[in-house]
Structure formats: structure tokens, C-alpha cells
């Protein structure tokens, strides 16, 4: 992992302040979406070798949920934006 994550609210901060949640590509299905949709939501994950979008929480900072795009091979971070700004929910 890169040492710093550039939080859109707090600026570049040590990555130890953040907590990773994982794959940001999954969205919570409707309650009646059916077993397959819920299985996919709870258990299946994108796990790419290379660019990956993830939810990170700035636990020891602004406590905002972020979407961080980074590389799982080089650990370089491309972008970090507030999750609410993208309109996505988990």
C-alpha cells in the first residue's frame, strides 16, 4: 500500500488512519431482489489484479466513506473521492 491516502476532506493522511471495506462495485439489492442477487452482494467480489475501486473509511479523521481507486499490484493510488459524491451506496 501507498503510505498516504489523499482524503478529499483532510488532505494526504497516513493510510493507518483509514479502514478498508473492500470492493466498491457492489450495490445493496432491493429487499425482494431474490436469493441470487443477495448471494452475489454478500459473497461475490471483484478481485482484480491491477486497478480496483474500494470503499475506505477515514476512521481516524473525518470519518467519511471514500471510494479509493488504486492498483493491487503496484499499490499506487489513483484517486480518492467521497462516496456520497458519486451517488453510490453500499
Amino acid at each position: 500500500m501507498a503510505s498516504l491516502i489523499a482524503c478529499p476532506h483532510c488532505g494526504p493522511r497516513p493510510k493507518e488512519e483509514f479502514t478498508v471495506r473492500g470492493d466498491a462495485g457492489i450495490t445493496r439489492p432491493e429487499p425482494d431482489a431474490g436469493a441470487d442477487a443477495w448471494h452475489a452482494y454478500v459473497y461475490l467480489r471483484d478481485n482484480p489484479r491491477g486497478r480496483h475501486r474500494e470503499h475506505w473509511h477515514h476512521t481516524s479523521g473525518c470519518r467519511r466513506w471514500l471510494i479509493v481507486e488504486r492498483d493491487t499490484v503496484t499499490h499506487a493510488i489513483y484517486s480518492a473521492v467521497d462516496a456520497a459524491a458519486t451517488g453510490e451506496t453500499a
Binding site: M1, K15, E16, V20, G22, D23, A35, D36, H39, A40, V42, Y43, L44, R45, D46, N47, P48, R49, H52, E54, T72, V73, T74, H75
Partner: protein
């Protein structure tokens, strides 16, 4: 004399006598332990991944099930992945129904392995101790020990004084986490990990399996809903059955057939210290944090802790985790504070959604999956290979590997040893 020291083909059977005989010949007549064959155009079975599990699978396919027209494709060299990157611990101290008989099968195979594949893997049943630090943890370990005994596995609950006699250097009076005792499995221990890869590779090769190194699978060819072969860095190779054993790269391979897995890849670090005189006789794990340590025959302390926690395909980790592991180690053994770490390294773990592995068929008829070993794959190597070979040969799961189904998540049959739910970086 030749009949004694040769095994019927040019590869010499290893024994004290062959060491002696080769010494007399000036060690000029040793043969390579396995061949470096050019891939054939077609195999009955191709195994993707020449790690411990892939090689063990090939070995048991040939030895137990008589299937020898097999290729193991390894993108690097044998021993370059997790089989050469772990902390070499073996144990079968599991609680849950699906896990316990499987890991005990593995332990029994470890106990006979060196005779079985005629290779010195330095299997050392030095005992594994899990320390407990509270009444609640003692109760949990009592429960686990009882579950083990009900499955016929050895388990002993040790009190504080017994542990103190065995391991006087532990921080028994730690203010926050005093050591109250330990759950011990005497038959647990360590095995020389490289030798496991080499022994299985040699044993498989001896029985006709082609081990093809530096051969990366880049695509999987499908015809009429079945797998017909794999595209590789050494060209197309056809197969009757395709078996994945790609560990941390399982997703990368599954993506080639558009199969989404309940797996994330994470990096786990391990460490070895400078050589010290013998002082840790067993494998010891900290109950108040994640830390496990043993001492190698060369004197280095081999230890590790938690995964770094974020998805990674880089075989290297982060300093924050190094610090965390060191803190846990010093909390358990204060004398470690002056030990210098010689080197550290990382391996990529296929972390599953319940912390347990998958050995199963897939929606594609002749494609098989072996994945999700999290960071407990090394101890499982023999049983994983055995059960996977059974599945490939007979198209039916082996009875002790039956629980490790791919569809268990959809069916609510999780095997969650730690009870933390569908969050891979917590297992």
C-alpha cells in the same frame, strides 16, 4: 547393487546407502530430481499451479488413482509461490465439523509423507501451543480441545505452571494479558516447506507427470460448453480435465472463464530472525494478538501475524503490519525485543468469505476448483492434494473434503471457524 539404489528409472531412490554410494563416486552421478519436459499437445489432466497443492494433486492422481498423463503448469518455478513463503506450521486443531476430519487426514498424511514420497521433508512434530489469557478463552479452547478429541485428534489443555515449565521465557504476568495456560496439540509441528514442494514434484515426475515451469496460463479455451485446453506462454495445450490450484491468483484464472469467486486476494507477511541458539522448542501462538513463532533448525525464529488487510497481488507488505507483528511478538516473549529480523517477505492469500477452502466441481463440466485456502493452506497440502485428486479422478468429492463446496455460501452452509462473517480480511 544397482537394483537397490535405482527405482527402475534414471532417478535415484534416496537412502543413506545412495548418499554413501554417490559420495564414493564423487557426487558426479546424482540426477536432477525432476525432468524439464517440453509440453505435449494434450493431457488427460492439466493442473494450473505448481505450488504445494497442485504438485500434491498431481502426485496423488498418479500414485493413488493411476492417472499419469498429467501436466502441472507453473508460471514461475517450483517453490516460488506460497509453498515457499509460509511459516511451515502443521496442525489439525480445528473446531468445526467440515474442517476437523479434513485437517486430521492431512496430519496423518504428513506423518507418513517422507516414507511415502522418499524425500526428507524434516517433518517435526514438536507440538503446537495456543496460549489463553482469560477464563473465556480457556473455555473456548476447552471446547475446541473436546471437539478435537471427539474426532480422535490429540489435544491437551495445559495449565499455567505446565506451560511455564515448558516455555519459561513467556510474559506470564503481562498486566493486560496474563498467560493462564495453553491448548496443545502434541502432533502438530513444522515441516520444511521447500522440501514438500520438491518431494511432491519429484514423486509426481517419477510417475510420469510433466512439471512445466515458466509456463503461465494466459487463457482458457472452451468448446461446446467444455474446456478444451489452455493458452499458455508456451503455446496451446489441450486437456480432458482442467484443475485450478492457483492460490492467490485463483480469481485471475477464474476470470478467464467468467466465473466470479467468493474470494479476495490479500498479502500476508512472514519473517525470519538471525540465527539464535535453541530456545523455542515448539510452535507457540499468542492468544491475545495474532502472532505465531517457531525456531528453525538453522536457529532462525520463523514468525508471522495477520494479513495486511487490503486487496493485493504484490508479494510484499507494509511496515505498519511489520510493527504490529513485532509488538505482538514482544508482548508474548519480551526477550524478542533484542532479536534482529533477518528478512521478511509476502505471499498472496486467496481469502474466502468464511475462512475455509473450496474443493469442488464448477458450473463447467470438466473444470475443477481448489481455492480459498486463506493463510492456512500449507498444513492442508497433503489432504488438499489427496481430496482434489479424488475429485478429479472420480468426479466425486472425497468424504473428508465434502463440506468444501463452492455453493455453500448460497446454501447457507458456511464453515466459519472464527465466526466473523463474510469479510475476508477478518478471517
Amino acid at each position: 547393487m544397482m537394483a537397490i539404489c535405482f527405482h527402475g528409472d534414471p532417478i535415484m531412490r534416496y537412502s543413506a546407502f545412495s548418499v554413501f554410494l554417490n559420495a564414493l563416486r564423487g557426487n558426479r552421478t546424482w540426477q536432477p530430481a525432476w525432468r524439464s519436459p517440453v509440453p505435449k499437445t494434450h493431457y488427460d489432466v492439466i493442473i494450473i499451479g505448481g505450488g504445494g497443492h497442485g504438485l500434491a494433486t498431481a502426485y496423488y492422481l498418479a500414485k493413488e488413482f493411476g492417472i499419469t498423463n498429467v501436466a502441472v503448469l507453473e508460471k514461475g518455478y517450483v517453490g516460488s509461490g506460497n509453498v515457499g513463503r509460509n511459516t511451515t506450521i502443521i496442525r489439525s486443531n480445528y473446531l468445526l465439523e467440515g474442517n476437523n476430519p479434513f485437517y486430521e487426514l492431512s496430519m496423518k498424511l504428513w506423518e507418513g509423507l517422507e516414507q511415502d514420497f522418499n524425500f526428507n521433508a524434516m517433518v517435526s512434530q514438536r507440538g503446537v501451543l495456543n496460549l489463553y489469557h482469560s477464563d473465556a478463552q480457556r473455555d473456548a479452547y476447552t471446547r475446541r480441545g473436546n471437539a478435537m478429541r471427539l474426532h480422535g485428534v490429540d489435544a491437551d489443555l495445559l495449565d499455567r505452571n505446565t506451560v511455564r515449565q515448558m516455555l519459561p521465557f513467556l510474559d506470564f504476568d503481562n498486566a493486560r494479558f496474563p498467560i493462564q495456560g495453553a491448548l496443545m496439540q502434541k502432533r502438530g509441528g513444522t515441516v520444511r516447506h521447500d522440501a514438500v514442494a520438491w518431494g511432491y514434484a519429484r514423486g509426481a515426475d517419477m510417475r510420469g507427470v510433466d512439471i512445466i515451469q515458466n509456463c503461465e496460463v494466459t487463457g482458457i479455451r472452451r468448446e461446446n460448453g467444455r474446456i478444451s485446453g489452455v493458452e499458455t506462454s508456451q503455446g496451446f495445450i489441450g486437456c480432458g480435465k482442467l484443475a485450478m490450484a492457483a492460490a492467490g491468483n485463483s480469481t485471475t484464472v477464474a476470470d478467464m472463464v467468467d466465473m466470479k469467486l467468493p474470494i479476495e486476494s490479500h498479502v500476508l507477511q512472514a519473517f525470519v530472525s538471525e540465527g539464535l541458539k535453541p530456545f523455542i522448542d515448539n510452535v507457540v501462538t499468542f492468544g491475545a494478538g495474532h502472532f505465531y513463532v517457531s525456531q528453525s533448525d538453522k536457529g532462525g525464529l520463523v514468525f508471522g501475524g495477520d494479513i495486511d488487510g487490503y486487496n493485493s497481488y504484490a508479494q510484499r507488505g507494509n511496515l505498519a503490519t511489520v510493527e504490529h507483528v513485532a509488538e505482538a511478538g514482544v508482548a508474548m516473549i519480551p526477550a524478542l525485543s533484542r532479536v534482529r529480523v533477518l528478512r521478511s517477505w509476502g505471499g498472496i492469500m486467496d481469502m474466502s468469505m468464511d475462512g475455509s477452502p473450496i474443493i469442488d466441481r464448477t458450473p463447467i463440466d470438466n473444470l475443477y476448483l481448489n481455492a480459498g485456502w486463506c493463510y492456512g493452506g500449507f498444513k492442508a497440502t497433503p489432504a488438499s492434494g489427496f481430496c482434489y485428486a479424488h475429485l478429479i479422478a472420480k468426479n466425486e468429492p472425497h468424504e473428508t473434503g465434502r463440506a468444501f463446496r463452492l455453493d455453500r455460501f448460497a446454501r447457507g452452509r458456511m464453515i466459519d471457524e472464527k465466526g466473523v462473517g463474510a469479510q475476508p480480511n477478518l478471517h
